[in-house]
């Protein structure tokens, strides 16, 4: 069983946390910190598995992680999961994100937390793997987006119009974003200067 899925960046800032076992909010934050501490001190090219920290349940649990540019994807699992299988699952997750966001980068995860959760929900449910077929996952997400669009077409139009007008006068959004720690691909956000 998967106990938790964590994504954080090279500085330990959490970008996604999903726990499939009840932990108090404090413990959740501690687990994120502990996991970051364990994972970040490891060299590149060492193996992708290590024993879990004490908070998540000690050595009966494994941390299986991958490091993509600025982000760590960490799955905490118990002994009933196949290590290499989970490693593949992380890859499927990232490839799916990449398809859905088109060249996914850290910023996408920050600004679309809800989408990331939805994509994850199509893959993992209650700590068990629901679907591993990327096409199937993307189809589901597409269907959701269509629903969303059709609803937005009816009710969201005024709000979106207002928001569009407001955006016009904005001095470029990306300048406000501290992108010092991002080195995957910074999206080409339009510049209004």
């Amino acid at each position: 069983m998967i106990k938790a899925i964590l994504i954080f960046n090279n500085h330990g800032k959490p970008r996604l946390s999903k726990f499939y076992q009840p932990y108090s909010e404090d413990t959740q934050q501690q687990i994120i910190r502990e996991t970051f501490h364990l994972v970040s001190k490891r060299d590149e090219n060492v193996c992708n598995f290590l024993e879990g920290g004490l908070l998540i349940g000690g050595s009966d649990n494994k941390l299986i992680y991958r490091h993509y540019a600025t982000l760590y994807f960490v799955f905490c699992v118990d002994s009933s999961e196949s290590e290499l299988g989970i490693l593949d699952l992380i890859q499927v997750f990232v490839e799916t994100l990449d398809k859905c966001f088109e060249n996914v980068c850290e910023l996408d995860l920050i600004f679309h937390v809800d989408k990331v959760h939805n994509i994850l929900a199509e893959m993992v449910m209650g700590g068990m793997v629901l679907e591993t077929n990327m096409n199937e996952i993307v189809t589901q997400i597409d269907a959701q987006n269509k629903l969303e669009k059709s609803e937005a077409g009816l009710a969201g139009a005024p709000a979106r119009a207002v928001s569009a007008v407001k955006s016009m006068n904005l001095p470029e959004i990306p300048r406000n974003i501290n992108i010092g720690d991002i080195s995957i691909k910074v999206p080409n956000l339009p510049s209004f200067k």
């Binding site: 992708n48 009933s80 290590e83 490693l87 920050i110 793997v129 629901l130 997400i141 974003i177």
Partner: protein, 936 residues
Amino acid sequence: MPAVSKGDGMRGLAVFISDIRNCKSKEAEIKRINKELANIRSKFKGDKALDGYSKKKYVCKLLFIFLLGHDIDFGHMEAVNLLSSNRYTEKQIGYLFISVLVNSNSELIRLINNAIKNDLASRNPTFMGLALHCIANVGSREMAEAFAGEIPKILVAGDTMDSVKQSAALCLLRLYRTSPDLVPMGDWTSRVVHLLNDQHLGVVTAATSLITTLAQKNPEEFKTSVSLAVSRLSRIVTSASTDLQDYTYYFVPAPWLSVKLLRLLQCYPPPEDPAVRGRLTECLETILNKAQEPPKSKKVQHSNAKNAVLFEAISLIIHHDSEPNLLVRACNQLGQFLQHRETNLRYLALESMCTLASSEFSHEAVKTHIETVINALKTERDVSVRQRAVDLLYAMCDRSNAQQIVAEMLSYLETADYSIREEIVLKVAILAEKYAVDYTWYVDTILNLIRIAGDYVSEEVWYRVIQIVINRDDVQGYAAKTVFEALQAPACHENLVKVGGYILGEFGNLIAGDPRSSPLIQFNLLHSKFHLCSVPTRALLLSTYIKFVNLFPEVKTTIQDVLRSDSQLKNADVELQQRAVEYLRLSTVASTDILATVLEEMPPFPERESSILAKLKKKKGPNTVTDLEEAKRERSADVNGGPEPAPASAASTPSPSADLLGLGAAPPAPSGPPPSSGGLLVDVFSDSPSAVAPLAPGSEDNFARFVCKNNGVLFENQLLQIGLKSEFRQNLGRMFIFYGNKTSTQFLNFTPTLICSDDLQTNLSLQTKPVDPTVDGGAQVQQIVNIECVCDFTEAPVLNIQFRYGGTFQNVSVKLPITLNKFFQPTEMASQDFFQRWKQLSSPQQEVQNIFKAKHPMDTEITKAKIIGFGSALLEDVDPNPANFVGAGIIHTKTTQIGCLLRLEPNLQAQMYRLTLRTSKETVSQRLCELLSEQF
């Protein structure tokens, strides 16, 4: 076209996130967050109805704030309201908020459950999916109560969509995990098994996960899944990869599902049906063959997926442990991986080999890789891989390679990571003891261990070396010489001083003949370390000194001078001061004879399971070590006579520092008023919960062991040991209960209580006095229970012990073995008399018979001893069949005496017994039969 178009984002959210990311300090961030929280709060509270878009935006902001680690204490109600919206977007964000933020005991659960119920009934697959996700993610007991009956129906209904089926399977699995009692088994189970044949591989995957978990608890019910799983697996493995729609992952057909199916098969023994078995073997062989084929892609994903299946297949082969041919192939495959350039594969190969090493067929094959594993220990850059290498060396160790492995582990220890040192120390200590051919090697190894990693050597390790040296004459002289030499080092670890002090105190005389280690030199050497040591070590050294006074009269005056010095006699530490005073006095007043008696060599320690092993198990968690350990122990049983399976002493080690000479301080005079027997005031003032703990685990077993004997250890844990001594005559008895404090800290508010049910109280009268409420560290207190059997009884009294240890409240309950048979008086009689009485007691209420399977080896002598221990006379030459046992006796109670006859007929072939009891009272026959049946 990307599925998420970037322009669609919520602008307010983007601005907020940007603001947070621009905050220069934590304070600024908190300030900005508080501002936003206030804003959202006012928006939620405001009377203007929010549209879906705004609600969604605010909920997303809250999610972001939560992710940063701030508590969110509102918004839950708004999220719940979103659930009942008819709009997908709003519903979805509501569910998202709830599954991230609502913990399972929230009082909102009822409202949430209501919304879920509506969505499940909606027949809209999207809404059903959302609802099922929510149940699976929260998974609380309340949800299980509400939906555990509903979900199986959705799962097996013919018209349920595939995606909903998938979700329903995993949802049910989650509920089963949290509350197995609430998930009703029923006819849906057989239909779930048939989902393994479903067309949609996603459904099969989810169903396999569900069945695997259910089958672990109810193997019989899901037995049919084995053949279905095998045929499914076979179709995947042998198919050309194009058959599997989109489930082919980098040229590997449905790797995830294969892994899950192989896991499911690990819940069962090898299939009995030869056809199924043959098919499975064929699958496993195909998987092993594929590993040798050239890769179809250079991508790492291809090899990962392929190897994920391969490793799982190997696990299954190891689990079945029945096909030598496959086992050897598996071992060779793992051997190849040990040298693979992928670190992940080396890691997994070491891990799998660890389990393989405990298999009979492949232990030797694993051993051939020893050089590679040692090399891994030396050269791997990754600590997690090195740790697996240590585990594997430990698992593959046997008598033939123990010296090499221990030496390698010792040399690795010098540079090992701090995080795994203690574990390595324990492993070295265990291996050295278990496989020691010659105990001088053992002593050298442990001393080396202390030299290299003294700080990581726990008490258990050095206690153990002392136990072993004391129990083995052949190594004592060598041990004394070696510790003496080791102590010469200018800086030696305190643990070495402890071992040295103890051993020289016992066996220093064995090396005193050599002028280089004369008594005075030994003493000066030890005393030169004295001032650098902690108090417990100094206390131990003082005891060594008094032992020297006995061993070497010539240094008596020197030692007396030391004891007499102010730094000892007026030491601020009470323990040291007391020892100095008492030892000084002892050395002055006692004659040589008395000294020699008091300070005699320590008697051998009783054989017991190594406390180190217990510690390692504790450290690694019971599941990880035990199985392997048990397997290894069985194999090595013949080697060292094996550690005795000592029943009660899981982790008992006397604390030498506290009680080296058996001189330990006598139980102190009661301090403070004894607790009044009424206990009213005590109860009012004590802050401890006075609820009685449930019976300690293992209590039943221990109880059964006392049916045929009167003395022994009733209970033992890390803190407390309870011993019993009892004697019975006619209807009276007396029981001495000994409570031993195994720690070095006082127990406070120590209150043992005897609890009898009302029924029992009228039939059995127990009288006892309260014991002193403080039990000093290392001390033992005694309690006497006077027993009178008024009438025959069935239950047993419960002994509940409550006390404070450190700041924590301890509560232990054990069944006290006072059983009806204790009031037996044996009666001898001739064959004729026996059968005459047997016939007299022939009414159906008087006879109770039980036929049962032997739990222990059927040994005549042991059986005889048990019947005598049970209290009745054992009558020889009575039964015409010499293999049978008959006994007779009288149970004494205050009111009556009950004559009892018993007959035990063993059936060696069937490994069964038939036990017949005839007494003049039905309840007595019944109870005696129950008690005695448990014994064989």
